[in-house]
């Protein structure tokens, strides 16, 4: 593809058993300095892709190139890729210092230089005091930092992380997200990060590739991914969204006329729907729905449930036969006061409603 690509997956396939594809036709190109996140549900092939990139798994078909070289042709220890494993994989029989010194010793660095670099790397992750401890004597978060420092201490240009925060509690996870982000900005390394937590992906990445069944559904920046999902799967997987099922009646200038659930008529951006008469999924973000008739598409609604969340109020409503239609009302000074059971109207603008592929 482009010659700025640092990491490139070119029609990559992976099969463990020769029958089913764990990764099916993966194309991805990652420029230098990017924070690329592979996001997807369990079993969608994220780890497999990462392990192939790290050289631990063979590529069944296609090619992965790192800086123009095919990784298939280089033994893993010569790739110079830092890897942070899901369970950290800190060597249990070595202290933190020895763990960090290992990659430098292997590179035959001088003793004083090794000490210097290890100290520097530990300071970078605020672990200076723990150098003489064994991994088993560290908390989960501390082990995580040590693993991070070890993956960075030999200054690789590419760092792979496979759900590195999966084992941490929420507060620590958010803190570490920030730390990793800071290190990425500070060091300018290229990061390929695997997670199945969409909020983690949104906060950290410069680009996100959404995986489903071994192939990429959409590959774009976090904002685009949230604002402009291209498939119903992505829309559902990233953030909250309301789905309505309908049939395309007419497409005109990028706007589709859709009959929704045979109960109403609406207009939506024709993003990913086929021709007239085919089924489609309409996707509307809850924060883009108005109570009342402000928007272009209006429908009757019944309030089912109200949840007060401080900064906003979550309102579950019955709309067009669905009783799980969510509306988020900001807690503004003039917001409407609804009651459960109340009959009202919801509306949204055509540009906030996307007509996507029909989910099976």
């Amino acid at each position: 593809m482009t010659d700025t690509a640092f990491v490139e997956f070119d029609q990559v396939q992976k099969s463990y058993d020769g029958e089913t594809l764990a990764v099916a036709n993966l194309n991805l190109s990652i420029p230098r300095g990017e924070f690329m996140t592979l996001l997807g549900p369990s079993g969608s092939g994220k780890t497999s892709s990462l392990m192939m990139l790290a050289g631990f798994e063979t590529v069944t078909h296609g090619e992965i190139r790192l800086d123009g070289r095919s990784v298939n042709s280089v033994p893993p220890h010569q790739l110079g890729i830092g890897v942070v494993f899901q369970n950290y994989a800190l060597f249990p029989h070595m202290t933190v210092n020895e763990n960090l010194a290992f990659p430098l010793q292997v590179r035959r660095m001088g003793r004083s230089e090794i000490e210097e670099r290890v100290r520097e790397a530990l300071q970078m992750v605020e672990m200076g005091r723990f150098g003489n401890r064994r991994p088993s004597e560290l908390s989960g978060g501390q082990q995580q930092r040590a693993a991070l420092a070890r993956a960075l201490v030999f200054r690789p240009e590419l760092v792979l992380m496979d759900e590195p925060l999966g084992a941490l509690d929420r507060q620590l996870r958010e803190h570490m997200q920030y730390e990793i982000k800071r290190l990425h900005d500070q060091l300018g390394v290229t990061v390929v990060y695997v997670t199945h937590d969409q909020s983690e992906a949104l906060t950290m990445s410069t680009r996100i590739a959404v995986f489903k069944d071994g192939s990429i559904q959409q590959d774009s920046g976090p904002e685009t991914l949230y604002e402009c999902p291209e498939t119903a799967f992505v829309a559902r997987f990233i953030g909250e969204n309301n789905r309505l099922y309908g049939r395309v009646e007419r497409v005109d200038n990028g706007v589709a006329e859709v009959s929704i659930e045979d109960m109403g008529q609406g207009r939506a951006l024709a993003i990913n729907c086929s021709g007239v008469g085919t089924p489609t999924t309409l996707s509307i973000r809850p924060e883009r729905v108005f109570i009342g008739d402000t928007g272009e598409n209006r429908f009757d609604a019944v309030v089912e449930e109200l949840i007060y969340l401080g900064d906003h109020i979550r309102c579950r409503m019955r709309v067009l036969g669905h009783d799980d239609f969510i509306v988020k009302m900001p807690n503004a000074p003039d917001h409407q006061h609804l009651k459960a059971g109340q009959e009202t109207q919801v509306s949204w603008n055509t540009e906030d409603c996307r007509a996507l592929d029909a989910l099976p």
């Binding site: 220890h77 994989a89 290992f102």
Partner: protein
């Protein structure tokens, strides 16, 4: 507290069984190594006199008289043979001295001293009486001393055994040597197998594991004799060598009825005891460690030596201790394929148990072997720590 007691209660049957079927017999047997009252039981008159004697002064007429009385009685009770056997262990030639004197003891007349010396000049020698004194003692270090090639004499001194009677230390040393070699061979052969087992998909693992365990299902005798068929002078292996022209027909290797035979057969038989603990530990070593080592720039050799091997040390420790301790006690295999220089200490113990019927000496040797193994175990603990040993 109650729960603890209940848990303890569940182990009582096993403890009781171990106590009755293992600990007590072992203690009784070891007891025999230091306690022998054959003489004291049948020679009731001379025993107290011998015990009172200082072991260096001239034997008195009273001692001769007491002995004469005992000999007459022993001949009548037909126990003289047992006593003679006991004395013979302390005094070469003691058996015939005893039996022939006993035969004529009834006809001897006072003073017994002159009469007995007349009959057999050996009665005039101090060593004869010192040997009797050793035999008369109920508690004696003589067997323990003998099992490490020392001689305990009636005058209370302990000296090294005569040159040509020193066989035990050599055998103990050889036992350790053979056990150590077998352990090393088992480790070298078993480690790769265990590694393979722990890295294959489950289905193939089960099949291979059965192959590893297969030897357990055949009798040890069958396996050992199979090795004879393979290794002997005109056995399978030599035939193959000759057929392929590796060696001439007249210079076949002698691989059995010597130490080679013992080493080969024992390594084969003990191999599973090395493989199983290794496999159990290796299975728990996550793949990610070696992968991490590779990603950090270590080649296969460094990743193995510095990362993988240290993680399997608990398994190595368990396998080594298991195989070594089992090997020190082996005797069927060396007996069948060991020839002269492949015999181990257990074979001698067996000899004394079944042939020479010298149970006290067998017990003493067993005791020394036990102490030796416990010492090595202690040494191992000091060096690498038992708590780091894992059987899986």
């Amino acid at each position: 507290m109650v729960r603890r007691l209940r848990a303890l209660g569940l182990t009582i049957p096993l403890l009781a069984f171990l106590f009755a079927a293992f600990i007590i017999p072992v203690l009784v047997f070891l007891w025999q190594g230091v306690h022998d009252d054959t003489y004291a039981r049948y020679m009731s008159h001379s025993t107290p006199v011998l015990e009172a004697w200082d072991g260096v002064s001239e034997p008195t007429e009273a001692m001769y008289a007491a002995l004469q009385k005992d000999l007459v009685q022993a001949r009548k009770d037909k126990t003289v043979g047992k006593v003679a056997t006991r004395v013979n262990r302390e005094l070469p030639g003691g058996r015939s001295l005893f039996t022939s004197t006993a035969r004529r003891a009834a006809r001897l007349e006072a003073p017994y001293r002159e009469a007995m010396i007349d009959l057999k000049p050996a009665w005039g020698r101090l060593e004869t009486w010192q040997a009797l004194r050793v035999a008369a003692a109920r508690y004696t270090p003589t067997y323990l001393a003998a099992s490490v090639d020392l001689k305990y004499s009636g005058d209370g001194s302990i000296r090294r055994q005569d040159e040509k009677r020193r066989i035990h230390l050599t055998l103990f040393w050889r036992t350790i040597e053979i056990s150590a070699l077998v352990t090393i061979f088992c480790l070298l052969l078993g480690y790769p197998v265990a590694y393979l087992l722990s890295n294959l998909p489950q289905r193939s693992t089960n099949l291979l594991l059965i192959l590893v365990l297969l030897p357990f299902w055949t009798s040890i005798l069958v396996r050992t004799t199979a090795w004879i068929a393979i290794l002997q002078g005109n056995g399978v292996l030599n035939d193959l060598f000759v057929a392929f022209g590796v060696i001439g027909d007249d210079s076949r290797f002698s691989m059995v009825y010597n130490r080679t035979g013992t080493l080969v057969a024992m390594t084969h038989i003990l191999l599973p005891f090395m493989i199983l603990p290794l496999y159990a530990v290796m299975r728990t070593v996550p793949k990610a460690y070696v992968q991490a080592a590779h990603s950090l720039g270590a080649n296969g050799w460094i990743a193995f030596w510095r990362i993988y091997l240290p993680q399997t040390l608990p398994g190595i420790g368990a396998g080594v201790v298991l195989v070594f301790i089992l090997a020190t006690g082996y005797y069927i295999t060396p007996a069948l394929v060991g020839g002269q220089d492949g015999q181990m200490i257990s074979n001698l113990i067996d000899f004394h148990m079944r042939r020479s019927l010298n149970w006290p000496l067998a017990a003493a040797m067993g005791f020394v072997l036990l102490v030796l193994v416990m010492f090595l175990y202690w040494l191992y603990d000091r060096v690498s720590g038992i708590d780091r040993m894992r059987l899986g």
